[in-house]
Amino acid sequence: MSGLRVSLHAPLDPAADCSALLDGNWTGLAPEALGRRPVAMPGRGDVPLAELAEVSGEPDGTIRLAGDWSQAVRLGAGLVEGAVVVEGDVGDEVGVGMAGGSIEVHGRAGARAGAAAPAARRGMTGGELIVRGDAGAECGALMRRGLVAVGGTVADHAGVGMIAGTLLAFGDVGPVPGLWSKRGSIVALGRVAIPSTYRFACTYQPPHLRLLLRRLQTRYRLPVEARHLTGFYHRYSGDLAELGKGEILTWTAS
């Protein structure tokens, strides 16, 4: 078997800060070294990963996280390298401030996926965060670069304060997306209510979306349909209360 594999013995309870697990350079770590990395458990302090999970495999730049990680907070925070796969759900703030590499969550993600770390002025600065299920509130908040793609729905205040970058949702997008966005792109393939501070620009076929969607289709097997590739999109510019160079692109059948 190639790559690292971490299987939790039991769900984290209560929610634990996992931001140190994949911090900095981790892709060359042997299982023993990764097992020494700490998980911040409320009431217990820093606990070595190896006490909570079985860590196995050989380093090749990838890692698979099995078991129940739904209470894992800030997993992949500041990620700079490697491909991370979470086989189920994940907790809040997955991929906050990530700068490179990829995180693929097969289940749901909690609030503030790909957003900014606490007190940080910007969120993701690079990399790809893929959530196959639904994503919680403030997904992609303060993004500077990079991609967040959500296979399901996205809750309220998605992309709040986006500086740039792309947030794409296959499902519906919750209330007030893109608030205070400067140059960010929100792509809604499902339903979305356009905020009042966005203004309709045109209906067209954004050429870059074909590239992006084809990548999501081939690399991550996300459910891209022909209508997404060949269809038209309404473009709304905003947030006009901010710089106004951001956009919400909504797929349209007509």
Partner: protein
């Protein structure tokens, strides 16, 4: 050596190192791919007068293009590495950016030398341009009246070879042209090569310099002009009344040799007397394509 009673001369084509970029152009339909490609490669036969040599490498089916639309692969080549980015910016800016529905991508993603093309063209957006990083590559979205023009930020550059060639010596102009057309058809789509001249064929092969004007860097190849047979040191057999040249540029010598092999075999047909090649005695170009070795299977 003979092929179909056509004599293959014991000589070689002499070629030069050039710098190459491969540009992928896509568009909504084959019609607009073709229009864009023809403009992009227009007036690009020889660096002698065009500053660049360019040609269509091959048409690309939708499954082979970055955005899943019809496309074409174009090679553009210059003598100096400093010239290539300038020519790319000029040509893509004037012919692809202007052409309806097109997008433009790098076709040499593995090349370590990267040229800022999209990063220069973006300024046409007058501050309204934006970029997206997709799969680790940055693309510029330039707003245009039609919608948006998408162009990759950087294009790869590699060393290539320019000036591979062979000469078709025929009994008549009709026979020379038919043989040249057959050769071009045989080489069409061969990966890694372009034929930068009109229809892939040159009727005005040149020699270095001029007998009369010192400032001229090239002039007619009088040794192969049938009308001058009586008054110059002609290299034409008596039965030859017309000569056409096929010039082949490529990403590497092997590609050129492979293309020449196909082309020469196709050109060896009725009415053709011999196949020769242009060289400068081997003193100028580092790449020598010996016709008989190529026909035998080795470059």
């Amino acid at each position: 050596m003979n092929i179909n009673d056509v004599f293959i001369e014991e000589t070689f084509a002499e070629a030069f190192t050039m710098r190459v970029a491969r540009v992928i152009v896509t568009a909504r339909s084959p019609r607009w791919v073709r229009e864009a490609a023809l403009k992009l490669t227009g007036f690009a036969t020889s660096v002698i007068g065009c500053k660049i040599e360019a040609g269509i490498e091959r048409e690309l089916p939708e499954r082979e293009t970055p955005d899943g639309r019809p496309g074409v692969s174009v090679l553009l080549m210059t003598m100096s590495k400093d010239d290539l980015p300038k020519r790319l910016i000029e040509r893509i800016g004037q012919t692809i950016l202007t052409c309806p529905t097109t997008a433009c991508f790098d076709g040499l993603p593995e090349a370590p030398d990267r040229l800022g093309v999209g990063s220069a063209l973006r300024f046409f957006g007058d501050g309204f341009q934006s970029s997206k990083v997709i799969g680790g590559e940055r693309f510029w979205r330039i707003p245009v009246m039609e919608g948006e023009f998408l162009v990759q930020e950087k294009f790869g550059m590699v060393k290539g070879v320019g000036g591979g060639n062979f000469l078709i010596l025929a009994q008549s102009a009709d026979a020379a042209l038919a043989a040249a057309e057959a050769a071009v058809d045989a080489m069409a789509g061969y990966p890694g090569i372009i034929l930068p001249f009109p229809g892939g064929v040159v009727r005005s092969g040149s020699k270095v310099g001029s007998r009369r004007i010192k400032s001229m860097i090239a002039s007619t190849n009088d040794a192969f002009c049938p009308t001058l047979r009586a008054i110059t040191p002609s290299q034409l057999p008596e039965t030859v009344n017309s000569v056409l040249e096929i010039v082949i540029n490529g990403t590497d010598a092997d590609a050129i040799a492979g293309g020449m092999r196909l082309g020469i075999r196709a050109a060896c047909r009725e009415g053709v007397v011999s196949i020769s090649a242009g060289n400068y005695g081997g003193k100028l170009g580092p790449h020598h394509f010996h016709l008989r070795k190529i026909i035998g299977g080795a470059a």
